[in-house]
């Protein structure tokens, strides 16, 4: 932040105005998360008090223990949903990357008839809102007998995730100089070896970025999961945590604790893998 403001020309006044704006923006994005965390530490009674307790007078981790206790019924369900979400998201991501890597490479390197058309056809899917495909896909899944299976979700998420993954990865492959492969092929590598030994490692940041994107998309998806799955033991987290809403009362602390636990995998993914986003690997490969 400071380097940006220092870099900018303009007077002190603007600089401070910029900082204040950024602080405001930061507060705006962090507030809901902070409130989520605070509420998750309250008892059900404390959560409903007015005026609200900004900090719980008796902070408790009970809500978390309840969710993570496999012997209780709440914990059993929650861990089931968590596992379902993880399974669907991981499989979706692995499949998306496995298909997108060769596809993106082909789009980047080969000139074949219909290449441009195919590439835009791939993207066409993402130009429509998800709801448009809800009913057609549901009918399709019913015909295929996939309703109430995780397969229906994985297939659906791939139709969203794959085009994006291909598009993202193609950008990475476009930036890797073709001479590197040519050099490898002259040095004795087959086409496949040139790709596997030279190009693939260089596109690792791209593959990781794509994986995160695909994982988050699947992890957070709600409407298809809500439509395709009706059995409790199949549900994924976004749908499953609705059980904290009931007709009579909403268990706000429980809901917030579940939401917090749900956001952990995404945050961890980002923290562990963020260095790959910023690594400029091809630097020094060629003279620009």
């Amino acid at each position: 932040m400071s380097s940006i403001t220092e870099y900018r020309s303009g007077g002190m006044g603007w600089r401070w105005a910029g900082r204040i704006f950024l602080v405001f923006l930061l507060g705006f994005t962090i507030m809901p998360m902070a409130w989520m965390l605070i509420t998750s530490l309250k008892t059900g009674f404390a959560a409903m008090q007015y005026p609200p307790q900004w900090w719980p007078t008796e902070p408790t981790l009970d809500n978390y223990w309840r969710l993570l206790d496999p012997s209780g019924s709440v914990g059993q369900d929650f861990l089931r949903y968590f596992w379902n979400s993880m399974w669907v998201s991981v499989v979706t991501t692995l499949l998306a990357v496995a298909v997108a890597v060769p596809a993106a490479y082909a789009f980047s390197r080969f000139r074949f008839p219909g290449r441009t058309f195919l590439f835009f056809a791939v993207l066409l899917r993402n130009m429509f809102p998800a709801v448009v495909f809800l009913v057609p896909l549901f009918i399709l899944m019913r015909v295929l007998g996939l309703v109430n299976t995780h397969g229906s979700l994985i297939l659906t998420y791939l139709t969203f995730g794959l085009p994006l993954a291909i598009w993202l990865l193609k950008g990475f492959y476009d930036n890797i100089p073709i001479q590197l492969e040519q050099a490898a092929r002259i040095d004795g590598a087959t086409r496949f070896q040139a790709f596997f030994l030279i190009v693939m490692p260089l596109s690792t940041p791209g593959i990781i970025a794509t994986s995160i994107y695909s994982f988050i998309g699947a992890w957070n998806e709600y409407i298809y999961a809500y439509t395709f799955l009706t059995r409790h033991d199949q549900m994924t987290l976004p749908v499953g945590i609705q059980r904290f809403f009931s007709e009579n009362a909403t268990d706000w602390p429980g809901l917030m604790a579940a939401t917090f636990l749900m956001s952990i995998p995404v945050v961890v993914l980002f923290l562990v893998l963020q260095r790959y986003f910023v690594r400029a690997l091809t630097e020094g490969a060629v003279k620009h």
């Binding site: 100089p177 490898a184 002259i186 004795g188 690997l281 020094g284 490969a285 060629v286 003279k287």
Partner: protein, 364 residues
């Protein structure tokens, strides 16, 4: 090392011919420069020899093997790229070792060869570094090292010096030349810089529009260009070309200009001029063969100074002659001013005449 033969090599993309029926033989141990303006097909030709792109027609032999349909890896060649194409994730050592690993050499042998190559190129102290930690000149050496570590039959080089700054380029030019002499390597070298081609190569292949224009020693290409393109491409400053009309006047042949002046030709030149397909003849002269006079002398043609460029040893000037620009050189003491009228005397023995229709050199 080996001989390389290209026979009627063609590469076309639909109706566009990047390389058109190119045939040439690179003898064992020869340094051949493929030279021409950008888009002339020189890099495509090199890539065809390397096998990086498929041929539309013709054949390539390296040594006694027809490699036309072989993969690059099976052609036993090495290539140095314009952007070096060093593997960025690998250390210099691993960059040099890669071609040997691909050929499954034993570890000790790889180590020995890598260290020998590094020693030859004076990059031993860089072996543990990554390419991005090297200067342009060092990267260039590593690229050269990766090519020579394998002792290939042919070295292919695609504008290897064009990313270096002027001073380093001159230095690396002589190093590559010595590298060629020491190893007796067969080298095919692509460049757009005719000076590089002239100074480094045993033979130069001048290309234009996908066609091989002339293939000869630099001295012969310089002295006897086959057509107007080669004449104007090789040499610095370029050969000047003046379009004129040939006419017989009694027993003599003269070149006439639209302005009305005449330039008598020697017997030999006269016969050349008359052999043209029409009376259109283009007069060609290099700056070193044109004398500049301030007064009219017999046989000299009138012109007007356009620009004067002193370089220290010699002053170059551009002179307008009958609508064309003629490059001349004079001693620094010979003061020329822009717009000054001058008279140019072309050396009859060293002038060039071209057919105005076919653009080919007129020869007896």
């Amino acid at each position: 090392m080996a001989q390389v033969v290209l026979k009627d090599v063609v590469k076309n993309y639909g109706p566009v011919y990047a390389v058109n029926r190119v045939s040439l033989t690179v003898e064992d141990g020869e340094f051949v420069a493929l030279v021409g303006p950008s888009g002339c097909g020189k890099t495509t030709t090199l890539n065809l020899v390397a096998g990086l792109i498929s041929m539309s027609g013709g054949a390539v032999t390296i040594g006694d093997r027809d490699v036309t349909n072989l993969d690059p890896k099976d052609r036993d060649i090495a290539m140095v790229f314009q952007n070096y194409a060093l593997y960025p994730q690998k250390s210099v050592y691993k960059n040099l070792a890669f071609p040997l690993q691909m050929r499954k050499l034993p570890k000790e042998e790889i180590d020995k060869k890598v260290r020998d190559a590094a020693k030859t190129l004076d990059i031993t102290h860089l072996l543990e570094r990554k390419p991005r930690e090297l200067s342009g000149g060092q990267q260039q050496r590593v690229a050269l090292g990766r090519a020579l570590v394998r002792e290939p039959r042919v070295f292919l080089m695609d504008e290897p010096l064009s990313n270096l700054d002027a001073k380093l380029r001159v230095q690396m030019r002589s190093e590559i030349k010595r590298f060629h002499q020491d190893l007796g390597a067969t080298i095919i070298y692509v460049t757009h810089d005719q000076l590089e081609a002239v100074t480094m190569s045993d033979k130069m292949a001048v290309m234009n529009g996908g066609f091989l224009q002339q293939y000869d020693s630099p001295a012969n290409v310089f002295a006897h260009p086959v057509n107007m393109f080669v004449a104007s491409f090789v040499g610095s400053p370029a050969m000047s070309l003046v379009p004129l009309t040939a006419a017989s006047k009694g027993t003599q042949v003269v070149l006439t200009s639209p302005e009305g002046w005449e330039m008598p030709l020697s017997d030999a030149n006269g016969r050349k001029a008359l052999s043209a397909t029409s009376n259109k003849v283009v007069l060609g002269g290099r700056h070193s063969t044109i004398k500049v006079h301030k007064v009219q002398v017999p046989g000299a043609v009138p012109g007007k100074v356009y620009t004067v460029e002193p370089t220290g040893d010699v002053t170059f000037a551009q002179v307008f002659v009958s609508g064309a620009t003629v490059n001349v050189s004079v001693p620094p003491s010979f003061a020329l001013r822009p717009d000054e009228p001058v008279f140019l005397e072309f050396d009859q023995d060293r002038m060039h005449l071209f057919d105005g229709e076919t653009e080919m050199a007129l020869r007896l």
